[in-house]
């Protein structure tokens, strides 16, 4: 086979029928601020863990909304709960509590 230096990229197709509304409502009941995130990315920009791993709270919230909770959990796996993200969030979201809540709700089967 020939290596052209580029190749097929995995599909980014989303199936929103797989979105688990019950779990999302459960998460919103524990941490209502998940609804007010505007995906500005400030949390990701200052994330220490994100510098060395795939950690991104912004992307994790998007993944949950795009019916990819496993990817969201993977995104948050290396979070150290340092709290820098909560200091820069323009919406004042308690990000540490949100991260713990996401892990709690979506880790349970």
């Amino acid at each position: 086979m020939v290596d052209f230096g580029f190749g097929l990229v995995p599909s980014s197709r989303m199936n929103l029928d797989l979105f688990d509304k019950d779990k999302y409502e459960k998460l919103a009941a524990i941490e209502p601020d998940v609804r007010i995130c505007m995906a500005c990315g400030s949390c990701t920009a200052v994330c220490t863990a994100g510098k060395y791993s795939q950690t991104s709270l912004r992307e994790a919230i998007e993944d949950i909304k795009n019916a990819k909770p496993d990817k969201a959990l993977e995104m948050l796996r290396c979070c150290q709960l340092c709290g820098k993200c909560s200091m820069v969030c323009p919406r004042g979201i308690n990000t540490r509590n949100l991260i713990l809540s996401i892990t709690k709700v979506y880790s349970s089967k």
């Binding site: 086979m1 020939v2 290596d3 052209f4 580029f6 190749g7 097929l8 990229v9």
Partner: protein, 354 residues
């Protein structure tokens, strides 16, 4: 169904295409990709159908490639376009026909922008005068070259020596039509059939005896998307677009793809080679690919032109299985010979794609 109501709705999807007297502008990249297509268009319209199609060597690029790659501003591209319009007016024409879909979309965008912002049009008049000492007049009718072939499709069918039919089975060839995105997705009213029911290529296929293939990703982009292709790091996205289309059309076993854009036949053709050589997958029969031709090449084939004069040897995917199905006579020994008999050189054999 209220017939009059349907007619009223459908009338919004129609486009007025004058019959004759056009100022023709070529595409930058088509002359490199499929060099005989524009020559075939001019030969059919001028010499076979007797139409007045004028072109001048003084016209330039429309600037679309630079504009869509974000390297020149819109006012610059508008001034380039204004110069083309000035050439048209200088030679006494009011109808403008362009070979390129990107150009067509850009002309539509420019004319619409001028309609919305007349002060910008005034500024472009000033820019053109300062830079070239030229005055321009907007075309009365702006059409794409495929609109014209669509308009003449029945005249071509009347003079055709063969149809899009498998001569061995008598069945119509299964044809995939692919419309360039900039034809009518940006300004639906400027294309035949609009963005929802583009009819420009379907009309040709029906008139020339083929059968349309309707498949799920029919309106998906071919994958060109300027910056996705130009930057090597993004080229996988371009390839994946094309892959998605081929995976979708494969179950319908198409015999042929017909396109009306400079980029689409190129990518639908060349990416078949890349997919085959990097993954081993081919989409035609017995390890062949699916030939992706321009509408001029298909018109030339039904009118009996020699396939090598149409430049079909410049396609990566071999066209011989299609020629055999259509009953086109060809000399394999002349495939890579130029008009003067000089050897053009043949490509290296592919490992997976026949």
């Amino acid at each position: 169904m209220i017939y009059e109501g349907k007619q009223k709705i459908w009338s919004e999807y129609q486009k007025e295409i004058p019959d004759d007297h056009y100022f023709y502008v070529r595409s930058c990249i088509r002359q490199s990709f499929f060099p005989a297509s524009e020559a075939t268009f001019l030969d059919i319209t001028r010499n076979v159908l007797g139409k007045d199609i004028f072109e001048t060597e003084h016209h330039t690029t429309c600037g679309g490639i630079a504009y869509h790659s974000d390297t020149i501003p819109q006012e610059t591209v508008m001034t380039i376009i204004a110069r083309q319009f000035a050439l048209m007016a200088k030679h006494g024409y009011e109808n403008y026909v362009c070979s390129c879909i990107t150009s067509f979309g850009l002309y539509c965008e420019t004319m619409e922008t001028w309609r919305e912002y007349p002060e910008l049009e005034a500024k472009i008049h000033e820019n053109l005068w300062k830079s070239c000492k030229l005055e321009f007049a907007k075309p009365k009718f702006l059409v794409h070259a495929s609109d014209l072939i669509y308009k003449y499709r029945n005249m071509i069918a009347a003079q055709a020596v063969r149809k899009l039919v498998n001569v061995h089975t008598g069945e119509p060839l299964k044809v995939v039509e692919h419309i360039g995105c900039h034809y009518s997705k940006m300004f639906p009213s400027k294309g035949v059939g609009g963005a929802e029911y583009p009819y420009v290529l379907v009309g040709m296929i029906e008139a020339w005896g083929g059968e349309i293939v309707d498949y799920p990703e029919r309106r998906h982009c071919c994958g060109f998307g300027f910056r996705q292709y130009f930057i090597k790091g993004n080229r996988g996205y371009s390839l994946s677009n094309t892959h998605k289309k081929f995976e979708s059309m494969e179950p319908f076993k198409p015999d042929l793809i017909i396109t009306n854009c400079p980029g689409c036949p190129y990518f639908l053709d060349r990416w078949q080679y890349v997919i085959a050589e990097s993954t081993g997958k081919t989409y035609g029969q017995d390890g062949h690919g699916i030939p992706a031709l321009t509408y001029e090449e298909v018109a030339g084939l039904v009118m009996g032109y020699d396939p090598w004069d149409l430049g079909l040897q410049t396609h990566q995917v071999g066209v011989e299985p299609l020629l055999d199905k259509m009953g086109v006579e060809y000399d394999p020994a002349k495939k890579y010979l130029g008009k003067n008999g000089k050897d053009l050189g043949s490509p290296s054999p592919c490992a997976c794609l026949k």
